[in-house]
Amino acid sequence: MLIRFITLIFLLLSITTPSLAQSDPKALIDQLGKASFKQAEELIGQIAATGDPRVVPALNAFGEGDLYARKSDGAVFITKAAGANFALIDPLTGETAGEAPKSAFTKIKVNNNLRRAIRSALGGLTLLSPDRAVRLAAAQAVLQSPSAENLELVEAALAKETDAEVKTRMEEARAVSVLASDRSADEKRAAIKTVASLGGREAIGILMSVSSTIDGSLRPDLDSAISGIEGQLLLWDAGQNVWYGISLGSVLLLAAIGLAITFGVMGIINMAHGEMVMIGAYSTFVVQQVIRTNYPGLFDWSLAIALPVAFLITAAVGLVIERGVIRFLYGRPLETLLATWGISLILQQAIRTIFGPTNQEVGNPSWMSGSFALGGMTITWNRLWIVLFSLTIFFALLTLMKRSSFGLQMRAVTQNRRMASSMGIRTPLVDAFTFALGSGIAGIAGVALSQIDNVSPNLGQSYIIDSFMVVVFGGVGNLWGTLVGALSLGVLNKFLEPSVGAVLGKILVLVLIILFIQKRPRGLFALKGRAVEA
């Protein structure tokens, strides 16, 4: 291990020795303090060219915006916030250099261009790092910002690399760099193959980017490689679309599922449903807020904690609404529209008064962030979780409704309240709990929706129409209808969107719903027979 490390250092030095003489990294770094963006970009190139591994932390800090210049003498430091002060770190040695007030420093500004340059420079510099993960990241960085300068570094690193995965990545990085260099046509031809084998959008991007500069003789190879990848992508694109549709559908499902109870089962035209979703989302916000200030370590658990909290809060609100208003309206379903509309206005304004009218920040826990690739598809984690979550809720609810005695009582009460009472069912209790359940479910939907949408007092309004649409399209009173309705509307939307655009797509979906209802006047999963007409 040690031997290998030494040889690596040696190798590194041997490669970069010529440039070492040209410049002193410390001086270069200090120059950053006064440089314009353009100059800074050149400086980064020069710093990288020193090949001195000690510059890595400084470049990293630069990219992160942690590099500051002292106003008095222009000396540059890596800083860490320490109250009103900065803890200073020497950019090259990494030694601490005391503390000083923030006001004595100016930030060395960084922009996207510089970040890109830094990424590429760091890629080259860290290719030989002893840490496997760092090497992998370095290869990745080189892959993403191809430049001829890195080619030799990559080749050197490649020669030494033993880890299979890092090696393939480096091969690819090399191929990319070859394409950007002025190597021979044959070498480039091979490189095109390697890049093509990478597949995906990125490969196309890399190949396209060299297409303008490449030698004419290589053009056919390039074109066929590109069209080959595109062919593969076509199929994946369809899959991707289905996935988008399903994930949109699951959002609709989430939004609608509480309504499937309060409206679908209980027959209450519940205009305050959206506000329940909103309150759920705000509960998440409050939970996260408490966690952020008191138990930051628990942040990744915040959603798990928010779920029961949101459920309880919204169910309680639902309970109050049912006991205070709705229960006087049974048998007068249309009046519920008026009352719940009033309730929704009040809830919106209440939230606005308490939390203010602006968006609140609800963070994504790490397991809800980012994406992974599934073949040629990109699947974002938050969507995946939401799909799973909505299905879980759906099936839990289905089981409750169909299998439990509470579910049976719930349905009996809503079909004939008086008779249910005469059968010994405690109708007031069942009513209250049913409404609370529907509200609570809307609340936990709010937890999930807070992950993809903004948390503002208007949140509920944006879902209420879609929710009613889904429940009705699926067939009122049929949970399966809500599921299938939501998913099919989602997929339909996503298949229309690419060809006609989002706006027309949405209009078309609405028109199709109108037409569909003509064919099936009682929705997708219509209840049939005498039972309904009676």
Partner: protein
């Protein structure tokens, strides 16, 4: 025949309401135009246009009540008909701007100019001719309602399903009208009108006339609605509302009945929209917003659905409240409005007018019952409440 039809409409309450409206139509403009601003009797123009706006809303609510209160079709898309009538009027007014627009184009409205349109789209042709435009005010909403209703009622789309597709209709229209490419000015809509029939829309005289017209049209539509609901047709309507299939088994064509009512109602809504636009000075796709249509339902319910005066009172009351509260308690008015809605449902279950009527009827019944059985023990006065609690 027609005379009989109309005469039947003029039952006590309707006569009073029509009388009040006609008096309004004459008095308010007179007070606005003939008295000086300092005079205690003076009605400022601002108040007059506000009242005019409420009357348009009242007409819209009346139109909705005809289909909802009497025929049981809960339309959540009536705002669309209102907006279409408004757009027809707006198009006329836009064309009247002529070369006074900012770009001075004699034909194209401003928004077309700066979006680089070279010529007027076909559906704008003829809209500069007043009679054509006025015909469109009736035809466009009427036709949409007819086509929509033709399909929906024939397929027996009912109840919430119908409500939701009407909502989908207005929502789709809203999205469509938001698009600049539609040629209706996108989200900014049509605005900055100059004159109507050669009169400046901003002149007090014009405003007074528009106000009178709003009151008179409301009165006329009220009479028509009353005539419809008090005819045998009106009874069939209520039959459709309560037991649609039974009406079919009696041999009535339910789809025609609904279609007729829906179309008439849409046309009334269109008139309301057309009167609304010159008075508020703008029409834009916001009028198609589903929430607006729901609000109309709310006004109707507040006033009392299934009564003719109710929706008028409801629309005026809620909007007066809204005007007042948004100025007096800008931060808290939604609480007041929401509270009003909840209060009405709980304490005036049939809406304001409906509940008054019901109380009246109950008192009459009780009196009759007491007279008939005055030897019986006096009945328990707490009963109606108890019943309401069930």
């Amino acid at each position: 025949m027609i005379a009989g039809f109309i005469l039947r409409a003029l039952e006590g309450k309707i006569v009073i309401a029509v009388g009040i409206l006609v008096a309004f139509a004459l008095l308010i403009p007179a007070l606005n135009l003939l008295t000086a601003p300092g005079n205690p009797l003076h009605v400022p123009t601002y108040i007059m246009s506000l009242l005019g706006k409420y009357l348009c809303y009242a007409l819209l609510a009346l139109a909705l009540d005809l289909v909802w209160g009497y025929c049981g079709i809960l339309s959540l898309g009536h705002g669309a008909f209102f907006a279409l009538g408004g757009y027809a009027m707006g198009m006329y007014l836009m064309r009247q701007i002529g070369s006074r627009g900012v770009y001075g184009d004699p034909i194209l409205p401003d928004f077309m100019v700066f979006l680089n349109w070279k010529e007027l789209p076909w559906f704008w042709y003829g809209m500069d001719v007043f009679p054509v435009a006025m015909a469109m005010v009736l035809i466009v909403p009427g036709l949409l309602a007819f086509v929509f209703g033709w399909f929906a009622f024939r397929s027996r789309v009912n109840g919430v399903y119908l409500s939701i597709i009407t909502q989908a209709m207005t929502y789709a229209l809203m999205l469509a009208f938001f698009r600049n490419d539609m040629g209706f000015g996108g989200n900014n809509g049509l605005t900055d009108y100059k004159e109507i029939l050669g009169f400046s829309v901003q002149a007090d005289g014009t405003r007074a006339v528009l106000f009178s017209l709003s009151a008179l049209f409301l009165a006329v539509c009220l009479v028509i609605a009353s005539a419809i609901t008090r005819s045998k047709f009106g009874k069939v309507l209520v039959g459709v509302r309560d037991a649609e299939s039974r009406v079919r088994f009696l041999g009535y064509r339910v789809e025609n009945i609904k279609l007729f009512t829906f179309t008439v109602s849409a046309m009334m809504a269109g008139i309301a929209g057309a009167l609304f636009v010159p008075q508020v000075g703008i029409i834009n796709p916001g009028e198609f917003a589903p929430a607006n249509s729901i609000e109309v339902v709310v006004w109707t319910a507040v006033g009392g659905r299934g009564t003719l005066i109710g929706p008028i009172i409801g629309a005026i009351l809620v909007n007066v409240g809204k005007s007042y509260f948004t100025g007096a308690f800008p931060d808290l008015w939604l609480f007041a409005l929401g509270g009003l809605f909840i209060g009405v449902t709980l304490f005036l279950p049939k809406g304001i007018v409906g509940t008054i009527q019901q109380r009246h009827a109950a008192r009459r019944d009780r009196k009759a019952a007491d007279d008939a059985t005055n030897h019986d023990k006096v009945s328990d006065a707490a009963l109606p409440l108890e019943q309401a609690a069930e």
